[in-house]
């Protein structure tokens, strides 16, 4: 059957067609012509995605300055990266960012969504658009704005002084203890809109009957949230977490434009070292090795999150998920 032919009539479309009484050899079982339509897209994917990835992994096996002849070093670059305490420290910072860029926005957005599930919000579309703005703003603009907010004489400190909390004021991004959470808060602000918009659209797909039924059964707002809203948003939460965790782990632009990894090394992230090794110290092999390790880390964490948030009730369809 080609993908373009109309559905074949018959009681069981999954059964092999009657027109082919003999069992087909494996390669003939599908109609390979259909795949021809995928060739242009696949070629594009191969050249612009698969090839650079393969190339990065390959380069990671060399000592190379990016210009002159390279030298095969096998897995030395990986060993060097894994033995570098600075990289581990940076990875730890990234994991802190996962809290601020993924967990916190998800939790906040769920609280908001739980609240608006019970009330009719006038102008929800405008509200939603407004909350989404941080996510679509250029990160450089975001970083510069927050640099101003967090500055010694910025609005945050002004507000603190106005309510008599002078003791708390500081240059938030320039302080060893507050720089990391401050950069994290920027991520929470950016990502909240994404989570909120995803969850609101998910909310609108929940049949009103479910809420009605819950209320008839006497569920309060909290019970309703955990029994109806939260389970129905499982898919959206999974998507949001995957997007936001990926953003947290490969975060570079906001860090670069607010603290450049400082003060000291208190806000370094792995991407910072990828940039430095590739463009400043010209150790392209090592930069590739860090990139490969970071990619594997992202795969591992995202994979774990997808597994934890999988649909446990649905029977696993044969031949894999979807």
């Amino acid at each position: 059957m080609t993908t373009l032919s109309p559905p074949r009539p018959g009681p069981d479309p999954a059964r092999p067609t009657d027109r082919a009484p003999r069992r087909r050899p494996f390669l003939r079982r599908y109609d390979w012509d259909a795949y021809l339509y995928l060739v242009p897209a696949f070629a594009f994917y191969l050249v612009f995605l698969v090839r650079p990835v393969v190339e990065s992994i390959w380069i990671a096996l060399f000592d190379w300055d990016g210009i002159t002849a390279s030298e095969w070093v096998g897995f030395d670059n990986f060993a060097g990266v894994l033995a570098d305490p600075q990289i581990w420290q940076a990875t730890l910072h990234s994991l802190v960012f996962v809290v601020f860029y993924a967990l916190l926005p998800t939790a906040l957005a769920l609280v908001f969504v739980g609240a608006i599930a019970r009330i009719r919000v006038r102008g929800l579309a405008a509200f939603r658009a407004l909350l989404f703005v941080p996510y679509i703003l250029s990160t450089v603009v975001v970083a510069i704005s927050w640099r101003w907010i967090f500055a010694e004489s910025g609005p945050l400190n002004t507000a603190l002084r106005a309510i008599g909390l002078d003791g708390l004021t500081r240059a938030w991004l320039g302080d060893f203890t507050t720089a990391l959470p401050s950069v994290g808060i920027i991520g929470t602000w950016v990502m909240f809109g994404l989570a909120f918009v995803l969850f609101v659209s998910g909310l609108q797909n929940i049949p009103a009957e479910q809420f009605e039924a819950a209320r008839l059964d006497g569920a309060g707002p909290v019970r309703e949230f955990f029994a109806v809203t939260l389970p129905s948003l499982r898919g959206e939460i999974q998507v949001a977490l995957v997007l936001m965790i990926t953003a947290a782990l490969r975060n570079f632009d906001i860090v670069w434009n607010t603290t450049s990894g400082g003060p000291g090394t208190s806000t370094t992230v792995p991407s910072y070292f990828i940039y430095r090794e590739a463009f400043v110290t010209h150790q392209v092999g090592r930069a590739s090795a860090i990139a490969v390790v970071l990619t594997l880390l992202i795969f591992a964490i995202v994979g774990a999150v997808m597994w934890l948030t999988r649909d446990r009730d649905a029977a696993a369809p044969r031949g894999g998920n979807r």
Partner: protein, 448 residues
């Protein structure tokens, strides 16, 4: 149904794509570019007649965006003198330029002329890869060597790019950049003080300013580099400039972990501890700090002469070079050097361009954009701040000279030094610990 021909085409496309993917699997990088066709040595400035023999050419130039005002003057003058050449100039931000110039110069259509940056990361890599032409002949023909004096060493490399500070001149740069002391004249007068010229006087002025409720020193270190530049006024006063330069250019046996540098670090940390430095400096951008100082905050600002763009009022502010204790040494160097590509097929036109940029005649054009030329210029006119910049530059070049920049020492020194200095100033690391880290970074780099 697709025809057989379509299938074959599709299969061919897939195979081609796959091959492209696998093409990655040969060792990356090529051999060092052999110095292309023997470079034409020049003995006198390139003449329009010589360049005319090239026929109509387009000269591709990569420059830092800070050069734009100067280039707006220079490019028309060049095109008028060499009418068969069209200059195609691209401006890049400093970060973009230093991150990409190496790959650009290595590409098939490399720019004929590009600016680099002294130190291992950019110029060293360009020399090592054989991508730029030695300019010894050009430096002589355009009277550049004499104007540069001893500081020419910052442009010299061994031909394999393995050592810095001696060898051939590989770049030329027309302006001098240096860290100096900006001071608020009115506030100093209120304190009954003149511009300090020694370390003792400076620290006495800090104490007096603090006692009078002023911020003694305005600092913005969000870029991490500014505190390192500020540090140079102390380090330059306490350690002989020649020692520091030897260490930066990688002379065998040089050591940064010496008592005078420890004292400099301890004193700087003491400035912070005593409240001499504006609070929240690590979270303040240097531009914001300079703007605050220009609008009347604080008594002193230590920074590069390029901040004279923001702190421009020579009646209100003074600019002086490093302290007399160290014969006026502070961090400083020439601006970003101009290079001629060794791949250029119009090298004479390229040489003519770099020569003109660095010629005595262009010094006036440069001075007109308020940058401090290396070549001598007429008086600064009635701009008091610019006059101060010219004086300071001359004083330093005649004195101990610039220290260069600490982060030139190794390709990772910027992070080691700036991050560590932040730790020391915050009292989280001892001066000894930082000096150890700095020196072992240096040793690692030079034993590689």
């Amino acid at each position: 149904m697709p025809t057989r021909r379509m299938r074959l085409t599709g299969a061919a496309a897939a195979v081609t794509a796959l091959a492209l993917g696998l093409a990655a699997c040969s060792a990356p990088g090529g051999a060092r570019t052999a110095p292309s066709a023997p470079v034409e040595e020049i003995t006198a400035p390139v003449t329009p007649e010589q360049v005319a023999e090239l026929g109509d050419v387009t000269l591709s130039v990569w420059a830092d965006q800070g050069e734009q005002d100067f280039m707006d003057q220079l490019v028309p003058a060049y095109e008028a003198e060499f009418p068969n050449v069209t200059v195609d100039i691209q401006f890049k931000s400093f970060n973009d330029l230093t991150a990409t110039v190496l790959n650009a110069m290595n590409s098939a259509d490399a720019p004929d002329v590009a600016q680099g940056n002294q130190g291992w990361a950019t110029d060293g890599a360009l020399v090592k890869a054989g991508l730029i032409r030695p300019l010894d002949d050009v430096a002589d023909a355009y009277d550049y060597r004499a104007a540069a004096g001893d500081a020419i060493t910052q442009l010299q490399w061994s031909d394999d790019g393995a050592s810095f500070g001696e060898g051939s001149v590989y770049g030329m740069s027309p302006d001098n950049q240096m860290v100096g002391l900006f001071s608020n004249r009115a506030k100093l007068a209120e304190l009954g003080l003149g511009t300090p010229t020694t370390l003792d006087e400076l620290e006495a002025a800090f104490a007096a300013a603090k006692a009078a409720g002023q911020t003694p020193l305005v600092l913005g270190n969000a870029d991490k580099a500014s505190a390192m530049q500020t540090f140079s006024i102390l380090q330059g006063a306490l350690t002989p400039a020649a020692d520091t330069r030897e260490w930066i250019t990688g002379a065998t046996g040089a050591d940064f972990a010496v008592d005078s540098n420890r004292e400099a670090l301890d004193r700087f940390a003491e400035w912070v501890a005593k409240g001499y430095v504006s609070p929240g400096y690590d979270g303040t951008s240097p531009d914001d700090a300079a703007a605050a100082f220009a609008s009347g905050d604080g008594v002193f600002f230590i920074g590069g002469n390029w901040y004279a763009g923001a702190i421009s009022d020579g009646a209100a502010f003074d600019f002086t070079p490093g302290l007399a204790d160290g014969d006026h040494a502070t961090s400083g160097s020439f601006g970003m050097p101009w290079h001629v590509s060794s791949k250029s097929d119009a090298s004479l036109a390229a040489i003519a361009f770099v020569g003109m940029v660095n010629s005595p005649e262009s010094a006036e054009l440069l001075a007109a954009t308020h940058r401090v030329p290396i070549q001598p210029v007429e008086a600064a006119g009635d701009d008091a701040m610019f006059a101060a910049l010219l004086d300071a530059s001359a004083t330093q070049l005649e004195g101990a000279g610039p220290l260069y920049w600490y982060d030139w020492a190794t390709d990772t020194m910027f992070d080691t030094f700036t991050g560590g200095l932040q730790e020391v100033l915050a009292g989280r690391e001892s001066a000894d610990a930082l000096l150890d880290r700095v020196q072992s970074d240096w040793v690692d780099f030079h034993t590689d």
